[in-house]
């Protein structure tokens, strides 16, 4: 007896009904996703796009956050002005009486500081994570002898990919911010830091081991993020390396290539697309994280960009830049989340969220596109 045989008509109806249920579930999900993007875009777009001129509100992208002043000169007509403009304006119009003056912190100006901060954090993080991650996976995959130990290490790394980001934040804070033995190039020695005595004098300063600056810094934040994303990168790289057919390596070695030549010419080029896709996905993840940078890198308000504030020359300057704390987009949004979202502040808040989401989505979209592109293109 065939167990599947039933009355054709009810069966068909059942079949159709369940197809509909599955379709509804799927499209509900899609609708939710699209709905959120749409909601954020429609709320945030107005401040970013202007109807005239360059069509983009460049001020929003090129000014630092500051306080917004909302006031009236005539009853009922609200005027919005950044604090600095407002002070100027008042100097120029000393006679005008200002009514209903209200101020909103962080709501005026733009989001240059957070944008730059996020970019610098991401770059720092990705440089470190890619160098360490790619070479580590090359070693694990190409050089290391296969065995129980390697398997255990590989498994350990894979498993760390799922550890919550806040735990990495905790760890990064303890290791990178509080330890006072990280090397840095400085002009002066901070003797309060115990390791500060171990400074190597250079021509115009010291290589001092006194930790990284003011508790939170680009170094600390970037490295915390790098540690967080490292397992993901290693796992992805290994996968790409493994996908390169063994024959490529054998052929190359058979022709007399050295190990490095083999890797450089016969393995890496074919693994690059995979690594690239993975690292762009990594950028998405890193740029969006708040918890790891809350304690390690981000501050709510900072008047200048890191490089404007750094002192010194050459490498010393570079080192000082990296020891600055920064504003960052996710942290800026976290600050907003704790401020009221009213008629007067909503535009800036939604605009910031929109810009942030767009940036991250562009990278995410790129990685999805690249993956599909390479999958269609690379076949062996």
């Amino acid at each position: 007896m065939n167990p599947f045989v039933a009355k054709t008509k009810t069966r068909k109806r059942k079949d159709q009904a369940s197809v509909v249920i599955f379709a509804v579930a799927t499209y509900l999900l899609v609708a939710c996703a699209v709905g959120i993007f749409f909601k954020i875009a429609s709320a945030g777009a107005p401040i970013l796009f202007a109807s005239e001129d360059s069509f983009i509100n460049w001020d929003f992208l090129t000014k630092n956050p500051e306080t917004l002043v909302v006031f009236e000169i005539e009853e009922g007509e609200k005027i919005r002005m950044d604090q600095t403009d407002f002070t100027e304006w008042k100097k120029e119009n000393p006679g005008v009486e200002v009514l209903n003056e209200k101020t909103h912190a962080y709501t005026g100006g733009g989001i240059l500081g957070p944008l730059v901060g996020t970019a610098m954090l991401v770059v720092t993080c990705m440089v470190v994570a890619l160098v360490v991650g790619v070479s580590a996976s090359v070693y694990l995959n190409e050089y290391a002898r296969k065995g129980l130990l390697m398997n255990a290490i590989r498994l350990a790394i894979m498993n760390l990919a799922g550890v919550p980001s806040v735990v990495f934040g905790l760890f990064g804070f303890a290791l990178f911010c509080l330890s006072d033995w990280w090397p840095a190039l400085t002009y002066t020695i901070n003797e309060e830091r115990t390791m500060g005595y171990f400074a190597i004098p250079l021509t115009d300063g010291y290589l001092s081991f006194q930790g990284w600056g003011s508790g939170s810094s680009l170094f600390a934040g970037g490295l915390t993020l790098a540690v967080m994303v490292l397992p993901v990168i290693i796992a992805a790289c290994e996968e790409s390396l493994k996908a390169v057919p063994k024959g490529f390596r054998e052929a190359s070695l058979a022709l007399g290539a050295s190990k490095w030549q083999c890797i450089r010419t016969a393995v890496l080029p074919y693994a690059t697309p995979g690594i690239l896709t993975a690292s762009i996905l990594g950028v998405t993840r890193v740029a969006g994280e708040t918890a790891p940078i809350m304690f390690t890198a981000a501050v709510a308000d900072k008047a200048k960009l890191p490089w404007e504030e750094a002192e010194g020359n050459g490498l010393f300057w570079l080192s000082d830049v990296m020891m600055q704390s920064v504003q960052a987009l996710p942290y800026h949004i976290y600050t907003f989340a704790r401020l009221p979202n009213t008629e007067e502040t909503a535009a800036t808040q939604n605009g910031t969220v929109f810009v942030f989401l767009m940036l991250v989505s562009v990278f995410a979209g790129l990685s999805i596109f690249l993956r599909i592109f390479f999958r269609n293109k690379l076949k062996w």
């Binding site: 799927t26 550890v163 735990v167 030549q261």
Partner: protein, 619 residues
């Protein structure tokens, strides 16, 4: 070509180029392993050091006698719950019977406010009996009163229009110097008082039942707090002395030096703190405690018995019913607590195992307290688990359903659209979802829950916009891409022949999916769900912003409605409290221990999922 390959590089330190390259890669591999080991090391080091300090803290809690007083505090709190219910019943009954009178009384207070505020400006003039002062005040008062509307003042709509007008009329002669309410208000108040007299009496008796216990508690809390402060000062005196000595050595300012030296002379170091002597007041209060408890028992029973039996208001009747039911339980617990307190001895050692258990199963997480810091993981753990359960309960059916649809039913075009869209969800940063949850979803959910027709749903209408459900919904969305993608992979891995065979036997597509493909892919789907759980339980920003941050065990009495309550989570507490704690303190270590717990949970989840996936790939 061959020659090129055979070229030998220069050797540096005995290594040729090949060795150096290998070395470089190897170093990086080692580095990444070292970093990963460091994470474990740091987490474990700080977390493990929590236990001895926690044990020390609990020992101090016992030695100072605070533990004994803790029982009294708990007992008084339990009594307060009975009082709370009685009070609620009282006011509900009052509202039902004398709503209008109460409205008069309250509205009078409300009307007084603008008059009083402005009255201050008139008082001087009235005081000096200036000419026209009285008229000016009268006009002002009349004008102010006429500008006030009933619905602004009487928010509950207790008052009927006649009483409102009568009240306004009676207020017109109100004198800011006098301050006594007009006769009309007095009458209403008297009427209320009279009508509720017997209830009021019983209520007062219930409420006053713990007077003796409460005053004993108050007395002992003060003593124990002092003992605690002294003991702490004593225990840290050695460190303080060293600190002051270092301070003297490092300062150059003579005044400052003298000041510090004086402080140093005040620091006394004893070999040990006389806990036995200092905790005597607590030990000697055991009998007084028993007596106070007996007093409470007698008075409470008497008071509860005197509570009225008939009520005009249904909720009041229910509440009093609950009071009657709960009182014996409370009294029973009281007996237990008294017995427990009687067993307290300052020198009974605290077990290490017990102190560890107190962390994992403690129900209180109280920090920065002037009494005692409690570190109990349970409410945080429960919060995390509850939110994750809701997130998965929503995410799993949707994402598995979507995976089946995309993998088996959808057309090529649909696949090419749906897959990237769902994957894009993964890119939404959690802080963005958090702010979305506060502003859009939270507000929307609350408004939706206030729709009259939906009030039968447990937990509706919601008071809080930041609650478990809100966080759970957002986390569900975050879990969808993970579960969906992995599920789809799992479905893809089912050999074609399976479905072909099933279809060939005449099964429909749905039958094939449910009876053939799902069972085959089930372990893959299970792995997907596990990884989704890992993602959800470790999420920080959404729960920090949206879960409502209430550190307490959920009130299970609400049934399914528990999802409308706020809660706190393990990840949230780390993010919230990390910024404030000083390196190396007990609180700091407690947070690291929470981190370690999270780390372990996510590791277990991952290992389990990986194992399942690996076993599948060996198929």
């Amino acid at each position: 070509m061959a020659k090129h390959f055979q070229k030998k590089g220069r050797r540096i330190l005995g290594w040729d180029l090949q060795d150096w390259i290998k070395g470089f890669f190897g170093t990086n591999a080692t580095l990444s392993i070292v970093i990963l080991l460091l994470i474990c090391f740091y987490l474990i080091r700080e977390a493990v050091m929590f236990f001895p300090s926690h044990h020390q803290g609990l020992t101090l809690y016992r030695q100072t006698g605070q533990e004994f007083v803790g029982h009294l505090i708990e007992e008084v709190d339990e009594h307060a719950k009975i009082v709370a219910m009685t009070d609620q019943a009282y006011y509900r009954e009052l509202d039902e019977k004398f709503g209008n009178e109460r409205g008069v009384s309250d509205s009078y207070e409300a009307l007084l406010e603008p008059l009083e505020d402005a009255g201050e400006d008139f008082i001087d003039a009235l005081d000096d009996e200036e000419e026209g002062a009285q008229e000016a005040w009268d006009t002002f008062a009349t004008k102010t009163l006429s500008k006030v509307y009933k619905k602004e003042i009487d928010t509950f709509n207790r008052l009927d229009d006649d009483s409102w007008n009568a009240l306004l009329a009676s207020m017109k002669g109100w004198d800011p110097l006098e301050g006594d309410p007009p006769a009309f208000v007095e009458e209403a108040r008297a009427k209320m008082k009279e009508g509720m007299a017997s209830f009021e009496l019983a209520r007062a008796e219930v409420s006053a039942a713990d007077d003796q216990l409460d005053s004993l508690r108050g007395k002992l809390v003060k003593i124990a707090s002092v003992v605690r402060e002294d003991a702490k000062a004593e225990l840290t005196s050695a460190a303080r002395k060293i600190a002051l000595e270092q301070g003297i050595a490092s300062t150059t300012d003579p005044d400052k030096k003298a000041e510090l030296e004086e402080k140093l002379s005040e620091v006394k170091i004893m070999d040990s703190f006389p806990f036995a002597a200092r905790s005597t007041p607590m030990a000697e209060s055991k009998d007084a405690h028993k007596a106070a408890a007996a007093d409470l028992k007698a008075k409470l029973t008497a008071g509860v018995a005197k509570l009225p039996a008939e009520f005009a208001s249904q909720p009041a009747a229910e509440l009093i019913e609950r009071v009657r039911k709960k009182t014996p339980d409370v009294l029973e617990e009281l007996d237990e607590s008294v017995a427990e307190a009687a067993r307290w001895r300052w020198d009974k050692p605290v077990g290490y195992f017990d102190s560890a258990l107190q962390f994992f199963f403690g129900r209180d997480w109280v920090t920065n307290s002037s009494w005692h810091d409690f570190y109990g993981l349970l409410p945080l753990f429960t919060g995390s688990v509850l939110i994750s359960c809701i997130a998965l309960a929503i995410a799993v059916p949707f994402s598995v359903g979507a995976a089946i649809y995309v993998n088996r039913i959808a057309t090529r075009l649909e696949q090419n659209i749906i897959k990237p869209v769902i994957e894009m969800v993964q890119a939404i940063p959690s802080v963005v979802l958090g702010i979305f949850g506060i502003l859009v979803l939270g507000e929307g959910l609350r408004e939706f829950s206030q729709v009259e027709a939906l009030s039968w749903i447990p937990g509706f209408p919601m008071q809080e916009r930041l609650n478990i459900l809100n966080a759970g919904l957002l986390l569900a969305l975050m879990a969808v891409p993970t579960i969906f993608t992995l599920c789809e992979d799992a479905l893809n891995n089912v050999p074609r022949s399976f479905s072909e065979a099933s279809l060939a036997l005449g099964a429909s597509r749905i039958q094939t999916v449910i009876k053939v493909i799902l069972p085959t892919a089930i372990s893959g789907i299970f792995a997907a769900i596990l990884l989704g759980l890992g993602r959800v339980i470790g999420e920080t920003m959404v729960v920090l912003l949206v879960a409502g941050n209430k550190i307490a065990m959920p009130d299970w009495g609400a049934g399914v409605g528990v999802v409308a309550q706020p809660t706190h989570t393990m990840t949230g507490i780390i993010a919230q409290e990390m910024g404030e704690v000083a390196d190396g303190t007990l609180h700091w270590r407690a947070l690291f221990l929470v981190g370690l717990v999270l780390f372990t949970i996510s590791l277990c989840i991952n290992v389990a999922a990986q194992r399942i996936i690996r076993r599948l790939s060996h198929l």
